[in-house]
């Protein structure tokens, strides 16, 4: 079972949010149901075939796993504090991820949809900006580039 309820925060500490193997959305979703939840929201962050006007072949993700796990656990804990959630989970791939494959999945479930939608967006926004995970974009022309999610620095 990979889901967490708000009464099981301690379980998060022992869970790996980082996956070296492909994320099976259907398998993960099949376990993300809860008798008190009338809404289940699934976000799948997928690899698209273009970036910065260039054709993308694939992405390669790297993580500092110990801290990524810790930070994602904190983010999920914070989401559980802010909303009444029956399920809140996140899994992020590392390694090579091909076009149309899932790089990150967030599932939230709650009694009604507003909480599940809001919490889901909160989790993915913070995971993208705070978890020490990085993507390297490999382009069709053979070049590559480390991506960055914000304009807080410029490599010039």
């Amino acid at each position: 079972m990979i889901s967490f309820t708000s009464s099981h925060h301690q379980a998060v500490d022992n869970f790996s949010f980082i996956s070296e193997t492909p994320l099976d959305l259907c398998a993960i979703l099949s376990e993300a149901h809860h008798p008190e939840a009338g809404a289940v929201v699934l976000f799948s962050g997928e690899v698209r075939n273009h970036s910065h006007g260039k054709s993308v072949s694939y992405l390669d993700y790297e993580a500092f796993a110990p801290m990524a796990n810790k930070i994602i656990a904190e983010i999920i804990g914070d989401a559980n504090e802010k909303w009444k959630l029956n399920i809140a989970l996140c899994k992020h791939r590392i390694g090579k991820v091909n076009i149309c494959e899932t790089a990150v999945i967030v599932i939230t479930a709650s009694a009604h949809r507003v909480e599940a939608y809001e919490a889901n967006q909160y989790i993915i926004d913070r995971v993208k900006h705070e978890a020490p995970i990085w993507k390297k974009e490999f382009f069709s022309d053979g070049s590559y580039e480390w991506s960055h999610n914000c304009g807080c620095f410029n490599l010039g």
């Binding site: 993700y61 990524a68 790089a103 993208k128 995970i133 990085w134 010039g156």
Partner: protein, 77 residues
């Protein structure tokens, strides 16, 4: 002390290396790293630093046995 870098910082430094000179905090460390590779100058101010899986700030004083992790801006998702 040992230093480990990630992602785009590996374009500028070995993934893991040792520094044994007198470096007491992240200000000294950043200056030293810019000396070693001036190309890191624009990226370093955007990086976070961590020891023992905790982020540190400039008030943290390094110990000889510390492994300092230099964490560039995240680009997950």
């Amino acid at each position: 002390m040992q230093v480990q870098v990630f992602a785009m910082m590996k374009d500028y430094f070995d993934e893991r290396f040792e520094l044994d000179m007198n470096i007491k905090n992240i200000i000294d460390l950043s200056e030293k790293l810019i000396d070693i590779n001036p190309k890191s100058k624009s990226l370093l101010p955007a990086c976070r630093f961590a020891v023992n899986n905790e982020f540190i700030d400039q008030n943290y004083i390094f110990s000889d046995n510390d492994i300092i992790y230099i964490i560039p801006p995240s680009s997950g998702g």
